[in-house]
Symmetry: C2
Subunit: 663 residues, 2 copies
Amino acid sequence: MVTRHEDTAMVVFQPSGRSGKVPKGTTILEAARLLGAGIEALCGGHHICGKCKIRIETGSVRSQGIESRRENAGAWQSGEADHITSEEKAAGYRLGCVAVVEGDLLVTVPEESRPGKQVVSKAARPIPIDQNPAVKTYFLQLSPSSLSDPTGDFERLGRALEATYGLTGLSIDLHAARSLGKVLRKGKWDVTVSVWMEREIIRLRPGKAGPNYGMAFDIGTTTLAGYLCDLDTMEVVATASMMNPQVPYGEDVISRINYCLDNPEGRQQMSTAVVDGLNSLIEQALSEATAHTGGRIRPADIEDVTACGNTCMQHLLVQLDPEPLGSVPFAPVVHSGLNVKGRDLGLQVNPAANVYMLPNIAGFVGGDSVGVILAEQPQHSEDTVLIIDIGTNGELVIGNRQKKVCSACSCATGPALEGAQIEFGMRAATGAIERVTISPDTHTVDYKVVGRDAWLSYSDPGQMQVRGICGSAVLDALAELFKAGIVAGSGAFDPQVEIGRLRDNPETGQKEFVLAWSAETAIGKDVVITQNDIRQIQLAKAAIYTGCKLMLRRMNLQRPDRIKIAGAFGNHIDVHRALVLGMFPDCPTERISSIGNAAGDGCRMALLDRKKRAEAERIARQVEYVELTLMDGFQEHLVDAIHIPHMTDDFPHLKQKSAMRRK
Amino acid sequence: MVTRHEDTAMVVFQPSGRSGKVPKGTTILEAARLLGAGIEALCGGHHICGKCKIRIETGSVRSQGIESRRENAGAWQSGEADHITSEEKAAGYRLGCVAVVEGDLLVTVPEESRPGKQVVSKAARPIPIDQNPAVKTYFLQLSPSSLSDPTGDFERLGRALEATYGLTGLSIDLHAARSLGKVLRKGKWDVTVSVWMEREIIRLRPGKAGPNYGMAFDIGTTTLAGYLCDLDTMEVVATASMMNPQVPYGEDVISRINYCLDNPEGRQQMSTAVVDGLNSLIEQALSEATAHTGGRIRPADIEDVTACGNTCMQHLLVQLDPEPLGSVPFAPVVHSGLNVKGRDLGLQVNPAANVYMLPNIAGFVGGDSVGVILAEQPQHSEDTVLIIDIGTNGELVIGNRQKKVCSACSCATGPALEGAQIEFGMRAATGAIERVTISPDTHTVDYKVVGRDAWLSYSDPGQMQVRGICGSAVLDALAELFKAGIVAGSGAFDPQVEIGRLRDNPETGQKEFVLAWSAETAIGKDVVITQNDIRQIQLAKAAIYTGCKLMLRRMNLQRPDRIKIAGAFGNHIDVHRALVLGMFPDCPTERISSIGNAAGDGCRMALLDRKKRAEAERIARQVEYVELTLMDGFQEHLVDAIHIPHMTDDFPHLKQKSAMRRK
């Protein structure tokens, strides 16, 4: 499509300096995406989160309607008023998702609207895996082609593979076939053949060739992780992780499904975004591995790929229609594991490499839960294990060797715990408060920010450069506020407490607690936790707790023998504080463990041991999916769980532990 | 790669008016390719054929060395002298493959260097085929997805395909999977499913959908043909044909293999060229079919593709390495039929469509010969059938139901019979002499040109606008010259004959016979047939005859029961004259038939009847390949066959026929 010159406008973003021409009528958020200038948009441009606030320095914008999505002559949109004060309005602040480019613009993206580089911890755990990769290599010494035996190269190779290794009836990938003639002659008829699943020849290398590699991807709603594995030694030779580049299209699964409903190209855009992300991971991993091993590893050396994510992420990766996931009965388009060619997705791996995507259990319990089950094997456990995978969604798995394993999803958990829907919420990026303590006696606040080792109490306030609060700190703060008696069991700020940090916000009419004074921040204002923030966190923890309770009821159990917390968030969480808040069902703290990225581990197992793929398919068929919202008493349980427990009988271990502490 | 402005030059070709910037150092032939200005280059730019003569009007060129391929300071290259006279040289004539762009240029492409639009006749014959296409459609009415049955779309579809049609274990192409969610809901759970080989779901359409189509391609060295077939009615709904766009890279198979040896990108370039050609055929066929049927047929409606060609054409189509075909033992990279995705080749068909390429018998006997055997079934014939497929190569098949079928290739035939290596040779394009008669008594020449119905004797000489001589007319002319006593059985012009049309060329020292005086031509000079032209034709016909004789000897037979002439050239050939020349072994003329494009017919059978694919694989394995050049007495036979037979005992039927004519 050719855009005529008069239909475009020049937009310059500062401080990044990103600039370029965009079609008039583009929103500023979209322009930022097009020009690569980062603007936060947790809600995916739906005028909800208010995180994409920008300031127009010069030039003119108009507004896009919220309900009708039609252009609106008025320069100010009522939806914006929820997020932009009258002073800000006067200073030129607008929402990036509402303001539409009308002519050349200079736009400032304020500090708090810029996405930080998140600190992602998705390291690989050592787990026992049988060596049985889907791609195996075979070395052959062929007899040269001659007039007395002019059999074609492929048939000659097939004959030798059968004679030497008993492999028959193999097909050959087009790209492997293209290299065949040259490779055989270059290696003087010695050749290393990579065969996928004893079915398809996918690569040929002259002579006796070196190692080959595979990549396992864990595609989280917020975070992507990749594990580069040597298919021979089984070692993880490099790990890479980054934010999911789909985040600008929507922070949670539902926002992304809605983005597809609203944009005909949405599915393609988001697929391109995540594939670009995976390609960045490959690049990172290859350069890390090359630095470590000395020898250069190239994309063509990645001969096999596995991938897992929640059902929606898996659908978006391969561009299955995610819309059915957004409405009753929330059925996926495909349950089964899919084998597709990496080249068909645009992955920068060997062009003949296959990608195995783990099967989905249900619309909201996907291949990542299958990966967790592969890695943790609750179906073979004597104890009843409850696995809580806290990512952007909370996914629950419970089971033991006697009973059928059940899985469920409490979708409401993620965004709040990861900082969305929280006034000063942000991801675990530089400047995010990640730990909080509040003295019960003096109400002194101390905290630590991501990117700085020293706590506030050991720092000059101006060094803290606070930008917001991340998930773990939101939980911390609430537990501390509760223990300090500033917040009651209902979650309400105690009106009796009178301290300087607790104040009324005249604009919202809400109470708020100051965690960091403006002098300690990089954004020139106090960073607070509001009454509404506390409500959001209460809802999230109630959703997880309710899910666990209902799953236990389904199993006719009072409590699990063990709790395993999976996911990066689980690594950061303070178990005792989570118990204080009533996030998990009661369990001795020593029987609660963090298992890291178990989904990624399972995905890696499927890469290195092909038997795990068949097992994954069995798991996806056999694990029972529980639709929590349809269970009797779901609403009542949820409402009850909103309360912060006060050492009730529901939590004997917590009581005991607290009692011990008091001694 | 960025080319700096000062490294390019503007080249304008006239009379086409094609122009543009090309990197300095490009040959004019390559520049013409890049800018889409047609220049003939039968030898593929190897400084051999001299067909790419052009005239530099303004601007400067330099020369490229012939042996070393390195740049040469001299402005004139000795190789050019073979093709360009001193007058032409003075007038600015150069060879396009030698002259290198040094600065801005205005170039004239003379009439005789322009490729004409060939008249291609590759119509489809009616042949009996069982209806059993590889892609079949199935209509299903699914139960809607619901909370009580939230099975995923793919699994729901699989369940119904098994229950209704007994199909199990189907996979689904990625592109079909992408449409699944929307299609099922759009059709209100009624769906038409296209399944390939009872193995893979390749397309989904909402409700009860209309017809689906397949395309069979015959990829000749010189000509491409495509047959668009309705997979339900089995009808050929449109036929399209065109020149193979690889021709500029070399007229024959060997030139194209050499082009790959010389150019690292050659294989890719030629694959792109032929795929572009096939896409043009698809476009032609679809618009023709749409015009006929009324309803619009789209590329996505083409759900299956078969293709055949000689081994080299098949290798180049899918980018297998053609180099092994160019040297002993001439082994193909792949014998077996290949299944590849159309999208992997860049074909504009349904993205999930598979392409089945017929298997190769040997390095020079490819899927096209397998197609001929599929269509003609010599292996089931009571009579011994000799099939001669005259395209750019001559491919031979002989057999009957008792004896093993043998195949062979006489590579030398094609280029000469199609006009290459002939002084005024050209393809069967407008202005080509296609029929010649010479009165034995008066030596009066009469001829007909392609594009004009009236013969010379019924025309004003200036209306003939002759540009050259095409294959069939070269044969005609030689037979007529022989019958008129102007050429002896040895092929030499008879020195005793004294007529105005027979003259010595002082430059070459050769005799030549004027077919058309310059007043009758569009190129301002006499069109002649030279002593060397006659030698080339003698070699070509000797190659075919020798091949036939040796194949008969292999079968221990004196003569075949039937001869079938396949290929477009076979449609134009005058059987009696070919017998006069001794091109075919002796056979009653009524038992010699032209069977048209039998390779294309076989390819169409493989499209419409999947059993033919298994049969093709059996044929490719079982048909014996005979390497003619290795047979005892090959050279002697070839030398003997160069002679024009004089009603010898070798040709009793010709003798008898001639005797009959005399009566």
